[in-house]
């Protein structure tokens, strides 16, 4: 949002600048020699005053404040609605970035066409000037803003999704025009520039659904009775209150080498009923399996201490 404000400020400055700068280059050179040049400046100044009068500045400020407040109120209401209507939480939240863009676009359009109301030549000149000025001065910012638009239009993820970018994994809380914010499992807020997101691969765990797959890994001694272990793992998964039963629970077995020993890796693939319980599901499945394995003596110390060296 604040970049729109910068852009607006820049626009206003450039609306003034073509004429002023043109005037500057001639008038400064001729300032000392020609006293009559001051008379030439007056029409230019009056044109600038016409474009940016006090009433217009007040109007612009009013529109900006109004848009800002309206945006805040609507976002607050949508967040309340989303949290209260759990089934539609993600659907409601994903409208927030669109609302942001639409509101600020309308505000900018209204300011330029309704309040400043510059002639078409000025708009074209400003367009070109803004393009060049911003292109040079704010390349990175522009990249991020375009990245933001691409994210909103392409929708590789939505607010509320669980995504992984580089080393960061967490729930998307905000898709801004410059950056996207995610909250990690450790409750850290990570801001990732949109340009980075567009240029990197993004892994989306739930693709806008309330549920997502959770993979729990359990390492077992290589001599473990696999049928028994798989049965325990399956029953642990279906016993968890956080599991989403409309999707299948799968237990897969892999042979792994760990510290020069062969071990069996049990992968339990289950869906969580709400992405917010993702880690609780993982923790509960792990706890249930380990408790049961210990109870049945499958993880007894002597078993674990039988290394199977890789030859």
């Amino acid at each position: 949002m604040k970049y729109f404000k910068y852009l607006l400020f820049l626009t206003v400055m450039i609306v003034i600048s073509p004429d002023v700068s043109a005037q500057d280059s001639t008038s400064v050179a001729e300032q000392d020699s020609t006293s009559g040049s001051l008379i030439d400046i007056n029409p230019q100044i009056s044109r600038i005053e016409d474009l940016i009068s006090t009433s217009k500045v007040v109007g612009i400020i009013f529109v900006l404040i109004f848009t800002f407040l309206l945006n805040r109120v609507l976002v607050f209401l949508l967040v309340r609605l989303a949290e209260n209507q759990v089934a539609y939480r993600l659907l409601v939240k994903r409208t927030i970035p669109f609302l942001n863009v639409i509101l600020w676009s309308f505000a900018i359009f209204f300011i330029i066409s309704g309040i400043i109301d510059p002639p078409i030549e000025t708009v074209l000149a400003v367009g070109a000037s803004v393009g060049i000025a911003v292109g040079f001065a704010a390349q990175d910012i522009l990249k991020n803003i375009f990245g933001g638009f691409i994210i909103i239009l392409d929708s590789p993820f939505q607010v509320g999704d669980k995504i992984e970018i580089d080393d960061h994994y967490g729930e998307v809380t905000e898709i801004g025009l410059r950056s996207t914010r995610i909250v990690t499992p450790d409750d850290s807020l990570v801001s990732i520039p949109n340009a980075d997101i567009v240029n990197n691969s993004v892994s989306n765990s739930n693709s806008s659904a309330l549920y997502c797959q959770v993979v729990t890994s359990i390492y077992l001694p290589v001599h473990t009775d696999l049928d028994e272990a798989k049965e325990i793992a399956y029953k642990a998964a279906i016993s968890s209150r956080y599991v989403y039963m409309n999707k299948p629970v799968l237990v897969l077995v892999e042979n792994k080498a760990l510290d020069h020993n062969f071990v069996v890796l049990l992968k339990i693939k289950a869906y969580v009923l709400d992405i917010r319980y993702e880690f609780l599901l993982k923790s509960e499945i792990t706890e249930l399996i380990l408790t049961e394995l210990n109870k049945r003596g499958i993880l007894a110390e002597e078993e674990m201490e039988k290394p199977n060296n890789i030859k």
């Binding site: 759990v86 209150r241 039963m245 509960e284």
Partner: protein, 413 residues
Amino acid sequence: MEALAIAWRFSTRKLRVIIRPIQKVFGFSVIRDTSSQKIIDLSTYLTETDTKISELPKSYRDLFKNDSDIDDELFVNTSNNIHNLKKVYEAWAEGVSTNAAIIGERGSGKSTLIHTFQKTLPEDLNILNVNIEYSTWKEEQALSFLSAQFDIKDVKRPETLVRAINDQKESRVVFIEGLQNLYLRNINGFDALEILWLVISETKENIFWVVSCSRYAWDFLSKAKGVETHFTHLFYTDLVSDEQMFEVIMSRHDKSAYRLLFEPDESTRKSRAYRKRLHKPAEAQEYLKKEFFNRLTEISKGNISVAILLWLRSIKKVEGRTITILPFNSADIESLDLLTSEVLFVLASLLLHDSLRVAELCRVMNISLSESRVLLSRLKSRGILLESNGLYRVNQLVFRQVIRMLKKRNIVH
């Protein structure tokens, strides 16, 4: 000035009517200062139901008794279940290995269907009725329970039980009621069910098995353990149409000598449709009756016991031979402050098992005994749960609302 004050009062009242539902959707407290009063009202409403119903004339109460052994003329044969069940039995009698499962919400008439079906069977047929009232989920519990039902002693292994049943060489029909009590959603809670599957599959030539199970337990077991694969025919009792629901209530009422008088509630009184019928009392009564049953069928959603309970709870007074019916307010439990995620999971566990004890809930939820006790007693004190002999279950008056809330939160599907 007075006109202005009236206009102001009128417009604020109208505005409040519009704003309240919006506030509710957005999750704002509707009227903060009276919310505690609202909770008290709801708790009182839920807990005083038994007292209210007990004040009704006994003869009238008896007609609506939640009893599986009802008169044939009061039985509503949903989806022609009796006829279809009979056909499945006849196929078994002819040597086809069939069996049946009856599925429905608690109070939807599973036991009534079984008892009514039994009456159609040949009198000389050996029938065994097994009612699993309490949670029986351990292997040894299940073995001793089942062996006692078949009058077999010293059973230590499921195979021994199967052999002993087959040795009896007797054709019989076995009705098992309460399959939901034969498991516990716990890592070790499926052993008893596995024994029953073995027994059913190994004895189906000699025994015609009919098993009843509550709807949400069945749905869970179907997804988790493929329960439906063990049965050749499935019957549902909670698919009662609106017309059948009307029939259920009115056939009982018509057996009494009472006359019905429907009263309008606040919103109906203001409605144009009602006001224009005011000068024709018979038409107004017909309109109110229709409105009442529309609401009743919408809330009970095919559950007969919920409908009966709501009907009895709607009786405002009994004067002489006239019963006055006032539309009920469906208890809104979503505005209660106690509905934390922990509480929602407790309610979901109770739906999956129909009823649970404190110790069983702590196994299902993987929580401590004291936590389990606190959670259950908190819900009981608010009237959401009812307790009898240490077994907790969801109050039928809020049964539908609980399901709706859990579905909305993706906990029950």
